[in-house]
């Protein structure tokens, strides 16, 4: 039984038999429906009007393959890898491990994981790393960080004073164990600034853009960024920061302005926590 190449592809559903005669090798136009056996009009060969269902010829035409959903799967998988790291950290701290040491280990593992992920997804991430964007975006990013820091401070101030949500100070544990400013900046500002940007604005946002519109991708990646922090009181300002970083990434085409914004925001948090100019107000992540 010869495997015959199926009928030539008709551009529309109203393919005239003449087009098949021109193709030469194709089989004669069907006169009966393959599925229900009802006679077909010679001009209307794509779908059977009698059984209406997803009929034969329309769907039996040679199927071209759809590009796989790899980038979007990779984006979602990276999110769950981050979630897994958070779970390991929660369990380790619950089991009595030193919180700061656990943070060091998990941060290092996450960094290695994200860099490896970027190497695998280099087709998506490399263009954003190769581009630096308009130099004017960098001062704008620092201004943006001041703005997001202000918004976050106000949000947390309102939550703690109106709703009495308790606040946690990230630096206390580090300071308590004798770590100094350079370690704090490295762990709280540099590492998240670079690694979270590579992950959320590099792999995830670009992966989503394969199937979503730019605004949808920014919105979805901002929500993912918000949820992974696992802190409901911080959701409002984390969402604002995520939107700002996503918009910056799409607008500049580069990851560096976003890294600068993220780094500056976290740096402001560290500095203000240690400096304590306004006692009683604690600062957001």
């Amino acid at each position: 039984m010869p495997a015959v190449s199926a009928a030539p592809v008709e551009p529309t559903s109203y393919a005239a038999p003449a087009s098949q005669a021109q193709a030469g090798t194709g089989p004669a136009p069907p006169r009966f429906c393959n599925t229900c056996g009802a006679p077909l009009h010679p001009d209307w060969v794509d779908a059977c009007p009698h059984c209406a269902a997803r009929h034969a010829r329309a769907l039996q035409a040679p199927a071209a393959s759809i590009a796989k959903n790899t980038p979007i799967n990779s984006a979602i998988a990276l999110y769950f890898a981050f979630l897994g790291a958070s779970v390991v950290m929660m369990i380790a701290i619950f089991a009595g491990a030193n919180a700061v040491t656990t943070d060091f280990v998990i941060s290092a593992l996450c960094s290695v994981l994200v860099v490896a992920w970027c190497v695998v997804a280099r087709r998506d991430v490399a263009p954003a790393l190769a581009r630096s964007g308009n130099p004017l975006w960098y001062p704008a990013a620092i201004g943006g960080a001041v703005a997001t820091f202000t918004i976050a401070s106000i949000a947390l101030f309102l939550l703690s004073h109106l709703l009495h949500v308790p606040q946690l100070r990230m630096t206390d544990e580090f300071v308590h164990q004798g770590y100094r400013l350079p370690t704090l900046i490295l762990c709280i500002a540099v590492q998240p600034g670079v690694i979270e940007e590579l992950a959320f604005r590099g792999v995830i946002l670009t992966g989503l853009q394969h199937v979503l519109s730019p605004w949808e991708s920014i919105f979805v990646s901002a929500l993912m960024f918000m949820i992974i922090h696992l802190s409901v009181p911080s959701f409002p300002h984390l969402f604002v920061i995520g939107m700002a970083l996503g918009w910056l990434r799409v607008q500049t085409g580069s990851l560096y302005p976003g890294m600068l914004l993220h780094f500056t925001h976290n740096l402001l948090c560290v500095v203000f926590e240690l400096w304590r100019p306004f006692d009683g107000i604690t600062f957001p992540w």
Binding site: A6, I76, F94, L208
Partner: protein
């Protein structure tokens, strides 16, 4: 381009696509023993005719829209859960009516926040199912994970006895699995649907 396997009609000898029930040339029934009914292109292929693409697109869109149902179910359950929690906390022995302890207020606030997000996701999924399903999956799976971690740590505290909270012993139930499965399928179908639209727009 893949090749479609053909079969000969025993009555007139015409070639018919594999899986056909009737001959397209003479209209007589073809030998049984092969699956009858229409052959639908697989999930990784797409039809090349306009009619086929429309049918396939409708099918994919229908699957993607099921995300809205799953998100609605979560929103309703979450709302009922918050209501129940509120009533339980109000009637705790020793609790004064109308004056919940601080921790309980924050707990209820967070749960209400999650319920509101799922109602929002349901509305969004009715308009564009794919992005809403992605966010829904991420949020729901995160909540289930936290639930599992909490239950397991409670179990280890209670020397192996299942702690409170969660549907089953370890905080994951059949409903969680079904909801996650529906969302995963919806995302897959939604993404394929968008690709189909992109390829159509590009004129392939």
């Amino acid at each position: 381009m893949t090749q479609v396997t053909m079969q000969s009609c025993p009555h007139c000898g015409a070639q018919n696509p594999w899986g056909s029930t009737f001959c397209s040339s003479c209209g007589k029934a073809l030998p049984t023993g092969m699956p009858s009914g229409p052959r639908v292109v697989g999930a990784k292929d797409f039809a090349t005719t306009a009619a086929g693409q429309k049918l396939q697109g409708d099918e994919l869109r229908k699957t993607a829209k099921k995300a809205a149902g799953a998100l609605l179910a979560v929103a309703i359950l979450q709302t009922l859960g918050v209501g129940l929690l509120f009533v339980l906390l109000q009637n705790l022995p020793g609790a004064r009516r109308g004056a919940l302890p601080q921790a309980a207020q924050i707990l209820i606030g967070a749960q209400v926040g999650v319920a509101v997000i799922f109602w929002g996701l349901w509305f969004w999924a009715r308009v564009s199912p794919l992005p809403a399903a992605i966010v829904g999956l991420v949020l729901y799976a995160t909540l289930v994970t936290i639930n599992v971690v909490t239950s397991v740590s409670q179990m280890s505290q209670n020397n192996g006895k299942p702690g409170g909270g969660g549907f089953g012993g370890i905080g994951i139930g059949w409903l969680d699995i079904i909801i996650i499965a529906v969302l995963v399928r919806a995302i897959s179908a939604g993404a394929t649907h968008r690709k189909l639209m992109q390829q159509q727009a590009a004129g392939i």
